[in-house]
C-alpha cells in the first residue's frame, strides 16, 4: 500500500500539518452526512491525526431563524454523553449555559431565515485518538439581517475511544441542498 504524498518511508516530508480529508457539498436535501475513517494509512485514516477540524456552512429545515445540527461520534446518540457549555449573543445580550444534546450542537440557518442564508461554523475536535474524553471547541455565526446568533461553544464527548466516524445530522428533517461540510486532519510532529 502506498503512503500518502506527505509521507516518504514513514517520515513526514514537509511538515504540512493540515490535511484535507474530505468535503461534501449536498446536491439535494439529505438527513445525515457521514465521514468515516478509512483505516488504510491514507489521508482518510483518522488514526494518524492529533486533531480534526470540521468546517460547516449549512442550512436546515427547522421552522425557525436558527437551526441546530448535531455532530455525533462513533454512532453515539446518547444525550448524556455530550455535556456542553455555550457562550453566545443575539444582538440583545450575551448568555451562557450548559446543556446536553444528542451530539455536538452546531447552529446553522433554519427554514425561516431568508433564502440563500447559511450558517457558518468551525469545530476543533481535540486529541481524537487519545484515551481522554474528547473535547470539541467551536465558533459559529448565523446572521440573518437583524436576527441570528454568534457563539463559542464547547462539548465533551464522554468516551475514551478513538473517533472513527463523524455524523452530521439535521436538527429536524434534512440538511438543505447546498450545505457544505469539510473535514481536515491536523498532524502532530514528534521531534527529538
Amino acid at each position: 500500500m502506498a503512503d500518502p504524498a506527505y509521507i516518504v518511508d514513514g517520515v513526514l516530508t514537509d511538515g504540512e500539518a493540515w490535511v484535507g480529508v474530505a468535503t461534501t457539498t449536498l446536491g439535494s436535501d439529505t438527513a445525515t452526512v457521514t465521514f468515516t475513517s478509512t483505516d488504510d494509512g491514507q489521508v482518510g485514516d483518522f488514526s494518524q491525526y492529533m486533531d480534526l477540524v470540521l468546517v460547516t456552512y449549512s442550512r436546515g429545515e427547522t421552522v425557525a431563524i436558527t437551526d441546530g445540527n448535531k455532530v455525533q461520534f462513533n454512532n453515539d446518540t446518547t444525550a448524556a454523553n455530550y455535556p456542553a457549555q455555550r457562550l453566545d449573543a443575539d444582538g440583545s445580550g450575551a448568555y451562557a449555559g450548559t446543556y446536553t444534546a444528542t451530539g455536538v450542537v452546531v447552529h446553522t440557518a433554519g427554514a425561516s431565515a431568508a433564502a440563500n442564508e447559511f450558517g457558518a461554523s468551525v469545530q476543533h475536535i481535540f486529541d481524537i485518538n487519545s484515551g481522554k474524553h474528547k473535547s470539541v471547541v467551536g465558533s459559529e455565526a448565523q446572521d440573518s439581517n437583524g436576527d441570528g446568533t454568534v457563539a463559542i461553544r464547547a462539548t465533551t464527548w464522554l468516551s475514551q475511544a478513538p473517533i472513527s466516524e463523524i455524523d452530521i445530522v439535521a436538527g429536524t428533517g434534512n440538511l438543505k441542498s447546498g450545505s457544505m461540510f469539510s473535514l481536515f486532519g491536523v498532524l502532530p510532529r514528534m521531534v527529538a
Binding site: 457549555q85 450575551a94 465533551t156 502532530p188
Partner: protein
C-alpha cells in the same frame, strides 16, 4: 512551503514542571499552539512566558468566559507572566483535559508588542474562555514556555500534549 506546518509536538510521558518550545524558526507569519492538558493540583491554572521573560511587569491579560449559566470577565495588568490558556485541575475528573487554541500573530515583527489570543475549554467544570494577553516587548518571539506556577510543587500531568504550528499565507 506548506501553509500550516507542524513545528514540534511535546507529549508528556511523565509529569513535568514546564514545556518550552525554543529556537522557534523565524520563517512563518504566525504561530498557533494547540493544547490538551491537565495539572496535578485541584484548581485550573497555567502560565505562559514569552522568550523566558518572567519579570518586569511586562504582561497584561483579558478574558471573558462562560461557566454554567454565568458569564464572566477578568483583566489584569503589570504581571510577570500570562495567565491562560488553562490546563484543567484534578477536580475536572481523570479523563478530562482542558483544550486550547492559541494564536500568536506576526511574531517576528520587532516593531510591535505581541498580542496573543486564546480559547480554552475545561471539561468537567465546565469553563469556556476567550482571552488575550499583551507582552510589552518588541523582540521577535523565539521561545514559548507553558508552566505551572513555580510556587507550587505540583506538575503538568502525563498525557498532556502541546503542538506548535507555523502559518504562512502562501
Amino acid at each position: 512551503m506548506a501553509v500550516i506546518e507542524a513545528i514540534a509536538t511535546t507529549y508528556l510521558e511523565a509529569d513535568v514542571a514546564s514545556v518550552t518550545f525554543s529556537a522557534i524558526p523565524q520563517t512563518y507569519e504566525h504561530l498557533q499552539l494547540r493544547m490538551s492538558g491537565k495539572l496535578g493540583r485541584s484548581n485550573h491554572e497555567g502560565e505562559m512566558l514569552i522568550n523566558g521573560v518572567s519579570s518586569g511587569s511586562v504582561y497584561s491579560r483579558h478574558r471573558m468566559g462562560g461557566s454554567g449559566s454565568s458569564t464572566n470577565a477578568w483583566a489584569s495588568t503589570s504581571a510577570d507572566y500570562i495567565v491562560g490558556p488553562y490546563f484543567s485541575g484534578t477536580g475536572a475528573g481523570a479523563a478530562n483535559y482542558a483544550v486550547s487554541i492559541v494564536d500568536i500573530l506576526d511574531y517576528t515583527n520587532t516593531n510591535k508588542n505581541m498580542t496573543m489570543m486564546y480559547m480554552t475549554y475545561e471539561q468537567g467544570t465546565p469553563n469556556l474562555y476567550f482571552g488575550s494577553a499583551l507582552w510589552d516587548g518588541t523582540a521577535a518571539v523565539t521561545s514559548l514556555t507553558y508552566r505551572i506556577t513555580p510556587t507550587v510543587s505540583e506538575l503538568l500531568t502525563r498525557g498532556s500534549v502541546i503542538t506548535l504550528y507555523g502559518l504562512n499565507s502562501s
